[in-house]
């Protein structure tokens, strides 16, 4: 949801001279996810800005894919004062049911510009096959 910024508040830590809007976004700690599919594989995409590769773990068990991780704040030693916070620096975890049988040994993942893409190749049995008519 959006949060209303109270410009009438007399306490200076709630009045922010940088903001132009009356309503500002508030980030969720659980990443937004898409599930896409083509003939050969399913792809799960998660928005994880500010999360480093070493802070994410992906696992598959019993037909479920689990993505766990944590977004850590950067440069905390240099920070004198936080003027405004909308971003969640917290651990996250989401589990997604695998859409089909997956060739587990060929699952791959890449992280770029805050987008995590997990490729789940379809197992042989579930790939589309054309049947010849004799």
């Amino acid at each position: 949801m959006f949060v209303r910024v109270n410009f009438d508040q007399p306490f200076t830590d709630l009045v922010n001279e940088f903001l132009t809007e009356e309503y500002v976004p508030a980030a969720s700690s659980q990443p937004a996810v898409d599930v896409a599919e083509n003939e050969n594989q399913s792809i799960i995409v998660a928005e994880v800005p500010g999360v480093k590769k070493e802070d994410i773990s992906i696992s598959v068990e019993n037909g479920w894919l689990t993505v766990k991780g944590e977004r850590k704040a950067v440069n905390t030693e240099d920070v004198k004062r936080v003027l405004h916070r909308e971003i969640a620096y917290e651990p996250f975890q989401r589990s997604i049911k695998l859409p089909h049988q997956v060739n587990v040994n060929q699952i791959s993942a890449e992280l770029q510009d805050g987008i995590l893409k997990i490729s789940l190749p379809k197992a042989e049995e579930v790939r589309p096959r054309t049947i010849e008519i004799k």
Binding site: T20, A26, A27, V33, N38, K80, V82, R85
Partner: protein, 132 residues
Amino acid sequence: MAKNGEVALVRRGNNALARRMEPLEDFVTPAADIYETAEAFVLSIDMPGVQKESISVQVEPGQLQVKGLIGQLYKETTNLVYSEIRKASFYRKFNIGSGIDSENIRANFENGVLSVALQKHESTKVREIPIK
């Protein structure tokens, strides 16, 4: 929980009120943190999926505008089965006060986060007063 002047977090939901608050049709307002160091004010803006070359940071007297265009997440041959990710570019404006040296602004983009450092004017920096 509020400490060191931090504002408490509110969870994101998705409701009609939030959608009406978007200023421009095709743009999303990115979440941003604003903090202060000894030398500068820093804006930390979430722009996942944006291509670095498409980011624009523009300064004019009293205002800073940031924009980032998202790239294509999927090839045309792929079907989207379930979607929570908003496929829109990012745009946000910030006021910048007179305590900032507008000639001296640095931006960098890493892990989908745009970081804009606004150097303080000499006069606004914190000075240690020596005690004799």
